[in-house]
C-alpha cells in the first residue's frame, strides 16, 4: 500500500498555496515520512516557520504549528524549546527568510547548538514577494530586482551553518525526494542544532526569468549538480567544479544548549557538586 500522507495533514487545510512544480510540497512529504518513521507525537511536536511560500508548510501539518514573522522562526522556536525542552521542535522556511532577514537568528541558533532541526528550502529566490534576489541567488542570475544580473555573491548555507557551530548539517535536493526523509530523520535524531538544506525550485519567479523553460529542466539541474559526499571523495577538483555536495556534510558531538542550561539550574539550586 502506498504511504498515507493524510494522517499528518490537517483536515480541511488543503489545497496548499504552492504553484504547480514548486519543490516545497516535495519537502513537506519528506518531512511527513520522517515524522512517521520516528513516530513523533503530534501534540509534542512544534513546527515553526517564518514568512514566505516555504514558511506556509506548518499550516498544513497536524501538529503544534507556529507561523511567525519574516526571518524570526529560529528565535521563536528557541523560546519554545527553551521553555519546554520535551517538545520536538522543527523549523522550516525559505533561503531568504533564513539567511537574509533571519541570518542573525540562524547563526546564533547554530552557535547555541539548541536541539532543533531546521529545514531550509533553498530555491535561491524570494518566491512569495515575486522573485527578488535572495542571498542564495547565484551571481549573474536574473531576479525582479536584478534585471541586469545579480551582482551579489551568494551564501553557502551549509558552510555558514557549520562555521556558526551547528552540530549536524545535511543537504539534499527536491529531485532526490527519497533522500529527504532520511536526512530529516537523522537530523531530528541528532542531539543539537541540525540544519537540512534542501535545494529546490521556484519555477514561477526564478525559473521563468532564468534559463529554465520548464519544471523538468529545473529538476534536471538539481539532479545534475548534486554529488553525494561519498562519491565526491573519489572525484578530483576538476570533476567537482560547479557541483554541490549532498548527504550528511557534518556531524559532531557537542554540548546541547538545553542540557547546558539544565546544569545552570542545578548550580543555581545548589545541587551541583
Amino acid at each position: 500500500m502506498s504511504f498515507d500522507y493524510d494522517k499528518w495533514i490537517r483536515p480541511g487545510k488543503l489545497p496548499h498555496i504552492w504553484c504547480p512544480g514548486c519543490g516545497h510540497g516535495i519537502v513537506m512529504k519528506g518531512l511527513i515520512r520522517a515524522l512517521d518513521t520516528l513516530q513523533l507525537k503530534k501534540e509534542e511536536t512544534a513546527i515553526v516557520s517564518g514568512i514566505g511560500c516555504a514558511s506556509r508548510l506548518p499550516g498544513y501539518m497536524d501538529c503544534c504549528t507556529l507561523h511567525t514573522a519574516h526571518g524570526r522562526a529560529a528565535a521563536f522556536a528557541t523560546g519554545v524549546k527553551m521553555a519546554k525542552p520535551e517538545m520536538n521542535v522543527i523549523l522550516c522556511g525559505g533561503d531568504g527568510d533564513g539567511t537574509a532577514i533571519g541570518g542573525n537568528h540562524f547563526i546564533h541558533a547554530c552557535r547555541r547548538n539548541i536541539d532543533m532541526t531546521y529545514i531550509i528550502m533553498n530555491n535561491m529566490i524570494y518566491g512569495m514577494t515575486g522573485g527578488q534576489f535572495s542571498p542564495c541567488t547565484p551571481t549573474g542570475d536574473k531576479a525582479s530586482t536584478t534585471p541586469y544580473g545579480n551582482p551579489d555573491p551568494g551564501f553557502d548555507i551549509a558552510k555558514l551553518a557549520i562555521g556558526a557551530g551547528a552540530s549536524f548539517v545535511a543537504r539534499g535536493t527536491a529531485f532526490h525526494a527519497n533522500q529527504i526523509d532520511k536526512l530529516i530523520v537523522e537530523a531530528i535524531q541528532h542531539k543539537g542544532f541540525s540544519v537540512v538544506e534542501i535545494l529546490d525550485d521556484c519555477p514561477t519567479t526564478y525559473g521563468r526569468r532564468n534559463k529554465y523553460k520548464s519544471v523538468i529542466e529545473m529538476m534536471n539541474r538539481l539532479k545534475d549538480v548534486a554529488v553525494p559526499v561519498k562519491a565526491a571523495e573519489k572525484m578530483d577538483p576538476e570533476q567537482l567544479k560547479g557541483k554541490i555536495l549532498t548527504g550528511v556534510l557534518h556531524k559532531q558531538d557537542k554540548p546541547e544548549y538545553c542540557e547546558q542550561y539544565a546544569k545552570v539550574i542545578e548550580r543555581a539550586k545548589g545541587t551541583a557538586r
Partner: protein, 377 residues
Amino acid sequence: MAKKVAFMQGNEAAAHGALYAGCTFFAGYPITPSTEVAEVMSAELPKIGGKFIQMEDEIGAMAALIGGALTGAKALTSTSGPGLSLKQENIGYACITEVPCVIVNVMRGGPSTGMPTGPSQSDIMCAKWGTHGDHPAICLVPASVQELFEETVRAFNLAEKYRTPVMIMPDEIVAHMRERIVFPEPGELEVIDRAKPTVTPDKYKPYDTSFGDVPPLAAFGSGYKFHVTGLNKMADGFPTTKAEYVQAEEERQVRKVEANAADIMKWEEYLIDDAEVVVVAFGSTSRSARFAVDEARKAGIKAGLFRLITFWPFPEQRLLEISKKVKGFISPEMNLGMCAGVIKGCIEGNAPVLGIFRVDGEPINPGQILDKIKEVK
C-alpha cells in the same frame, strides 16, 4: 512574622514583581537603563527551575518571549527605547496572536540611543502606536519602587486575563532610584493565570469567541495542537482574508481591552475635589508634581494632582469631567508634549493645558511646576 523589607532599585523591584506573579521565562537583550531587570532574572529564575535566555538582539528576544509564552510560561522581557522599536513587529505579532507577555521598557533620553542614561518619558506613544495596524495597548507607568513591584504583578495579571502583551514603562529615574520596599506576602496580591481550555483537544479552537472576547489559550505541549499565525485568522487560528472575519477579529482584539478599560485603568487623585489647577503627571515627574501641589496649597492656590498609573488605556472620561470644573491643566513631562496632546484630545477644549517639556536629561523639579501652576489664571 514581620514582612520582608528591602532597599532596592526600581529595576530590581520589577524583576521581583515578575517572580511574585509567577514568571518562569525571560528572554532579553541588554540595554541601559534596563539591564538590572535581566541581571536579577538571570540569577533568580534558575533557582526556581525557570529559564533565562539572552538572545542575539531585541527582535529575537521578543520572538523567543512569544515562543516561551506559548508553552504556557509567564514570560518577561526588558528593554529601553531603541530596543522597544526593534521589538515592535513581534509585539504586533503577540497582539494579533493574543499571546500574553510582559515588556518592561525603561524610558531614557532621546530617540535611538539618545542619552543612554538620561531619563525621559518619550516612549509612551510607541506603546500605543509603535506596531503596525490596530491593536490593543496596555501600558503602566509606575512612580515608585514599591509601585513598580506591584504594577509588574498587575501587568502579568492583565496580560494573562486579556491574552495580550502588556508594557510597563518606568522612566529611568523610577527604574534606577533606590527606595524602601515592603514585599507582599505570597497570596497578598492577586495573581491571575490565563484561562485554559475546558474542551477536549479535538474541539479546541484558540480563538473561539463562544468563550467571550478572550478565548482560553492552550499551551504547546499540553496535549492540544493548534495553529498560530500572524496572518488574520479565524476561530481555529487559520488564515483568512474574508472581510467579515478580519473586521470582526480586529475589532474584538481592540475591544477586549477598551471595553474593560475600567478594570485596567488606574490613577490617583490628590486634592482634586476643589482644585482649580490640575497637574496631570506620571512616573518620577508626578513626585515633583505632588510636592509642587503641596507648595501651591500653602500659597493659597487650589492645586491638585492627577497621577496616571496606567497610561493606556487613558482615563479620558474622568479628565473630561474634571475639565468642566478647572481653570487649567499642567502637563509636566520629559518629552515635548506627548501627554499634553492626549489630554487636549479628550477634554474638548474645556480648559487650557500648559506644558513643561524637558528633554535635556534633567528631571523636572517642583519649582518649575509651581511656577507654571501660578501662571494659570
